[in-house]
C-alpha cells in the first residue's frame, strides 16, 4: 500500500477522483452513469494511444507514426470487412498484422540507416496517412462489424467494455517491462545505451522491438476505436499526436528513456479524459479543452520529480545532503 501511495500518479488519481466527486454534486450532468461511461470510453482509447508511444519512449526514442499506423489499420479492417467481405476475425487479424509490420518497418529503417526515430516516423507516419487517404479516396467505410460496435459502444451501467482491452494492455505492457527479459533490455537501452551495449544487449534489437510493439499497440487502438466511431475513416489517428505524448508524460514517463510506468499511463488517460469531459459538460469550448491539456502537461513536467527526470541529473545540481542521506542509510 505504501508503495502504491508513493507512486507518482497516486496524487494525480486522488485529485481527479476528489474533483469528480465535487463535480458530481455541482453539476447533475457529470455524475450520471452515462457520462462516466463516456469518460471511461475515451480514457480507454487514450490509454492505448499512450502505451503505443510509451514503449518507444522507454528506449529513448519516439514515434510520430502512431496515428498514421492507426489510420492505415482502420481502413484495412474496414475495407476488408465492408468491401472484401472478409470475416471480422480475418479483418482484425490482418489489421493488427499490418500495424505490427508498419512498426517493424519503422524500427528497421531507424536501425538500418542509423537515423533518429523522430525523422523516420515523421516520414513514414505521413506516408501511412497518405496511403490511407489514397486507398479510400478519403471516403470512410460505414459498414462496421457488429462485434466491434458492441466493443466500442457496449456498457454495463458506467463500465465501458473498452476498458477491458485497455486494462489488459496496461497490465500486459507493465508486466512485460517488469518481468520479461526483453522488457528489461528495452529499459536498459533507454536508461544507458553504453551500459547496455557493454552488457551485450543489442540496441538495434531493442529499437526494432519497441517500434514493432508500438505499431501493434497502435493497431489494437485503431480496432478499439472503429466501434467508438461506428465508421472506419482514414482520418483516424490524425489528432492523436499530442495525446500520444501527453498521456505517457503526465503518467511519469521520462523523455530521456529508461522508464515505462504503464499504470501511470492509464491514470493519466483517465485524468485527461475526465478533464475533457468536465470542460464539455461545463460548456467550455473545445479550444479551451486543448489549452487545459497543454497546461496539464506543463504541470506534470514542472512537478518536482518529473522535471528532474526530463532534464537529467546534471542540470539540476545534486545537493550534497542527498548523498549524505544515502550513505547514512
Amino acid at each position: 500500500m505504501r508503495r502504491l501511495l508513493s507512486t507518482q500518479w497516486a496524487p494525480l488519481l486522488a485529485a481527479t477522483i476528489l474533483a469528480g466527486i465535487v463535480l458530481g454534486f455541482v453539476t447533475r450532468q457529470f455524475g450520471t452513469a452515462f457520462n462516466i461511461y463516456t469518460i471511461l470510453q475515451t480514457a480507454a482509447i487514450y490509454a492505448a494511444i499512450g502505451l503505443a508511444q510509451m514503449v518507444v519512449l522507454a528506449v529513448a526514442d519516439m514515434s510520430l507514426a502512431v496515428g498514421g499506423i492507426a489510420g492505415l489499420v482502420t481502413i484495412t479492417v474496414g475495407g476488408l470487412y465492408d468491401a472484401q467481405h472478409c470475416s471480422v476475425a480475418a479483418a482484425v487479424a490482418a489489421g493488427l498484422g499490418l500495424g505490427l509490420a508498419c512498426g517493424l518497418v519503422n524500427g528497421l529503417i531507424i536501425v538500418g540507416m542509423n537515423l533518429s526515430g523522430f525523422i523516420v516516423t515523421l516520414a513514414t507516419g505521413t506516408a501511412f496517412t497518405g496511403i490511407a487517404y489514397g486507398i479510400t479516396s478519403a471516403i470512410p467505410y460505414s459498414t462496421i462489424p457488429p462485434a466491434l460496435v458492441s466493443l466500442g459502444q457496449g456498457r454495463v451501467s458506467f463500465f465501458s467494455f473498452l476498458l477491458l482491452p485497455a486494462i489488459a494492455l496496461t497490465i500486459a505492457v507493465g508486466a512485460g517491462f517488469r518481468w520479461l527479459p526483453i522488457g528489461r533490455s528495452l529499459l536498459a537501452v533507454g536508461g544507458n545505451r553504453e551500459a547496455a551495449l557493454l552488457s551485450g544487449i543489442s540496441r538495434a534489437r531493442a529499437i526494432v522491438v519497441a517500434h514493432a510493439a508500438s505499431g501493434l499497440l497502435a493497431g489494437i487502438t485503431a480496432v478499439m476505436y472503429i466501434g467508438v466511431l461506428r465508421s472506419a475513416t482514414p482520418a483516424t489517428g490524425s489528432d492523436w499526436l499530442i495525446i500520444s505524448f501527453a498521456v505517457p508524460i503526465i503518467g511519469g514517463t521520462a523523455l530521456v528513456g529508461g522508464e515505462a510506468p504503464a499504470m501511470g499511463c492509464f491514470v493519466a488517460a483517465l485524468v485527461l479524459a475526465a478533464i475533457n469531459d468536465v470542460l464539455i459538460v461545463l460548456n467550455v469550448n473545445t479550444e479551451a479543452v486543448q489549452m487545459a491539456e497543454g497546461l496539464l502537461i506543463f504541470a506534470a513536467v514542472i512537478s518536482g520529480k518529473l522535471g528532474q527526470r526530463i532534464h537529467g541529473p546534471s542540470l539540476m545540481w545534486r545537493k550534497p545532503a542527498a548523498r549524505g542521506r544515502v550513505r547514512a542509510s
Binding site: 527479459p181 536508461g191 557493454l198 552488457s199 550534497p320 548523498r323 549524505g324
Partner: protein, 538 residues
C-alpha cells in the same frame, strides 16, 4: 615497434591473454600502430600512456568493442576473434570502464547482472537476482540492499559496483580503466585488497592509471604506449624508475616544478573576499580572500563542501549570510552569466563532460561561448571570424592538440578536453578563475601543461582559486592553502612550498577538526552528515 616474441616475457610462462602487434585506425587516423599487451596468469599489469596514446583503443579491442585492422588477439595461446563485447565476456575478459556505465533507474543487483538476469520460467526473478548479487556486492564492500536504485550511489560506490559486476562474470582477465580517478583513499585501500586477492587466485589484471604511486603499489609489470606503439612492453616494474616511466610516456623528461614560492609573486588588490559567509548548503563563517596574482589552494576531503562553495560564488547556490565582495565592492552574484559578465569570475568545472563542455559542438564554439556577447554584431548575430580572434590565442597558449577548430570537442582526448574547457574562460578574460579539480583523470603531460597555465595566469594578474584533492598539486602551486572540512574553513596556511611540513600541517588541521566534530555536542545538521560520511568510507 614490437617484435613477435617479446624479450621481457619469459617463454616458459605462456601468456594468459595477449594482444600482438595490433593496428587500428579510425577514418584514416591511426590510433594503434603495432601495439602489444601480454598478460601472465596472476599478475597485475600496469598500462600507462598519455591521453590519446591508444590505451582506450587497446582496451576496446581486448573487450570486443572494436576489431583490429591487423594483428592478433590470443587467449591461452589460441587466436580469438571478439566480434561483440558479449563474446569477450564469454572468454572471461571483463572490463571496468572509466565512464560510469550504470543504468541509474535499475537496482544494484540488476546492474550487476545486466543482460543475464536470472529467469524463473522465462520471467525475471527479482528475488534470485538479489540473492545472486549480494555476495558480489559484499565482496567489494557495498553494504547496501541489492534492490536499491543505482542512482543513489556516490561516484566511488558506482565504481565499486562496476568492479563487483566484473568479478561476477568470473573473469580470467580483468581490465580496469582508471578505476581510482574518483574514489577516496579508503576506497582505494579496499580495492587494493580485492585486486591482490584476485591476482593470487590467478586472474590477470590490467590496471590503467595516471597515478604512478598507485601503479608502484599494485603492479608487477608495466606496458607503456606512446602514439599507438609500445615504448615499454611488459617490463618488470622493479627495474623502471618513476622518471623513466614519465619519460617513456611523453618522450621527454618533465621536471617536477618547485613549490609556489619560486614564482615571482605580485599579490595585488583583493579580487574576491568572503567574510563570514554561510550558504544554503550549510557553510558557515567562511572567510576567504583571493588577491590578483595569487593562487589560493582549497584543499579538503571529498564532501568537505569545496565545490558547493564555488557554486555559491558563481551564483548557483544561495548565500544566506555574511558578505561577498568583488574588487572591494559588496556584490550579489545571481548566476554564472552575472558572475562572468559583471564580475569577471569564471569557473572551470570538475565535471567537464556534463558541465564544462558541449561535447558535440566544435572547439571554436565551445571556447567562443563566453565571448559571444563581445563579438556579436549590432544586429545580434555572431561573427565566426571575430570570435576566432578571441578563440585561437588561448588554444595555442594551452597547446591543444587538434586538427582544426571545427572539430567536435568529443573527438579530443580527456586532457585536451580539459584544456578547451579552461581556454573558454581565458578567452573571456576572467579576472578570477575557480579551477575545480583541474587535473583529475588527465595524463602527466596534460597535468603539467595545466599547472603551467595556472602559474602563468597568476603571473598575468588573475586571481586563482584552486580546488584540488591532490595535496601535492596544492602544495606545488598555491600561495596559501585553505583547508576545508565539514563546510567550514579549518585552517588558512601560508604555503612554504615544501611538501613534508606543509602536508603535515594540513593533515593535522583535518584530523583535529574531525575529532572535534565527532564529539556528540556537534549539532547534526544535514551538512554534517554528508561531510562526515565521506572519510569514513563504506
Amino acid at each position: 615497434m614490437s617484435e613477435n616474441v617479446p624479450a621481457d616475457v619469459p617463454e616458459a610462462v605462456p601468456s594468459r591473454f595477449a594482444i600482438n602487434d595490433v593496428w587500428k585506425s579510425f577514418g584514416g587516423v591511426a590510433a594503434l600502430s603495432g601495439a602489444s599487451l601480454r598478460l601472465l596468469p596472476g599478475e597485475i599489469h600496469a598500462l600507462i600512456g598519455e591521453n590519446g596514446a591508444g590505451k582506450s583503443t587497446l582496451i576496446n579491442i581486448a573487450t570486443g568493442v572494436h576489431r583490429p585492422d591487423r594483428g592478433r588477439v590470443l587467449m591461452e595461446g589460441r587466436e580469438v576473434h571478439f566480434v561483440t563485447p558479449g563474446a569477450a565476456a564469454a572468454h572471461g575478459v571483463a572490463v571496468v570502464h572509466q565512464e560510469r556505465n550504470l543504468v541509474r533507474k535499475f537496482s544494484l543487483a540488476e546492474n550487476l547482472l545486466l543482460g543475464r538476469q536470472p529467469l524463473t520460467g522465462g520471467v525475471v526473478s527479482y528475488r534470485r537476482m538479489a540473492d545472486e548479487a549480494r555476495p558480489w556486492l559484499e565482496r567489494v564492500g557495498l553494504d547496501l540492499d541489492p534492490l536499491t536504485e543505482a542512482s543513489c550511489l556516490s561516484p566511488g560506490q558506482a565504481q565499486l559496483l562496476e568492479i563487483a559486476k566484473a568479478l561476477s562474470q568470473r573473469c580470467r582477465v580483468l581490465l580496469l580503466d582508471e578505476p581510482t580517478s574518483s574514489i577516496t583513499d579508503t576506497e582505494f585501500d579496499h580495492l587494493r585488497g580485492i585486486l591482490t586477492e584476485l591476482r593470487d587466485a590467478g586472474t590477470s589484471i590490467v590496471f590503467v592509471s595516471h597515478k604512478l604511486e598507485e601503479v608502484y603499489a599494485l603492479c608487477s609489470r608495466i606496458t607503456v604506449l606512446r602514439d599507438g606503439r609500445n615504448v615499454l612492453d611488459g617490463a618488470p616494474l622493479s627495474g623502471v624508475s618513476q622518471p623513466e616511466i614519465v619519460r617513456a610516456m611523453v618522450g621527454r623528461p618533465i621536471e617536477l616544478r618547485a613549490g609556489g614560492s619560486s614564482r615571482k609573486r605580485r599579490a595585488g588588490a583583493p579580487r574576491l573576499e568572503l567574510c563570514g559567509v554561510s550558504t544554503e548548503f550549510g557553510h558557515r563563517g567562511v572567510d576567504l580572500t583571493v588577491r590578483s596574482g595569487e593562487i589560493i589552494g582549497l584543499y579538503g576531503l571529498v564532501g568537505a563542501g569545496r565545490t558547493e562553495l564555488a557554486r555559491c560564488i558563481m551564483g548557483l547556490g544561495r548565500i544566506t549570510g555574511g558578505e561577498l565582495r568583488v574588487n572591494g565592492q559588496p556584490a550579489r552574484i545571481r548566476n554564472p552569466y552575472d558572475a562572468l559578465r559583471h564580475h569577471r569570475i569564471g569557473y572551470v568545472s570538475e565535471d567537464r563532460k556534463d558541465e564544462g563542455l558541449i561535447i558535440s559542438h566544435s572547439i571554436s564554439r565551445n571556447v567562443g561561448i563566453t565571448v559571444w556577447d563581445k563579438v556579436k554584431h549590432r544586429m545580434g548575430w555572431i561573427s565566426e571570424k571575430r570570435a576566432r580572434l578571441h578563440v585561437e590565442p588561448p588554444l595555442q597558449r594551452l597547446n591543444v592538440k587538434m586538427h582544426r577548430l571545427s572539430q567536435p570537442v568529443g573527438s579530443l582526448s580527456g586532457g585536451n578536453q580539459q584544456k578547451v574547457s579552461a581556454a573558454k574562460w581565458i578567452a573571456a578574460e576572467a579576472e578570477l578563475l575557480i579551477f575545480d579539480e583541474p587535473t583529475v583523470g588527465i595524463d602527466v603531460a596534460a597535468k603539467d601543461a595545466m599547472h603551467r597555465l595556472i602559474v602563468e595566469l597568476a603571473e598575468d594578474g588573475t586571481g586563482l582559486l584552486l580546488i584540488s584533492s591532490d595535496l601535492r598539486e596544492v602544495v606545488q602551486l598555491a600561495d596559501r592553502i585553505l583547508v576545508m572540512g565539514d563546510f567550514r574553513v579549518l585552517a588558512d596556511l601560508a604555503n612554504s612550498g615544501e611538501y613534508a611540513p606543509t602536508s603535515e600541517l594540513v593533515m593535522r588541521a583535518i584530523t583535529q577538526a574531525t575529532s572535534q566534530i565527532q564529539a556528540p555536542a556537534a549539532g547534526a545538521s544535514r551538512a554534517d552528515q554528508s561531510g562526515l560520511a565521506e572519510p569514513a568510507g563504506p
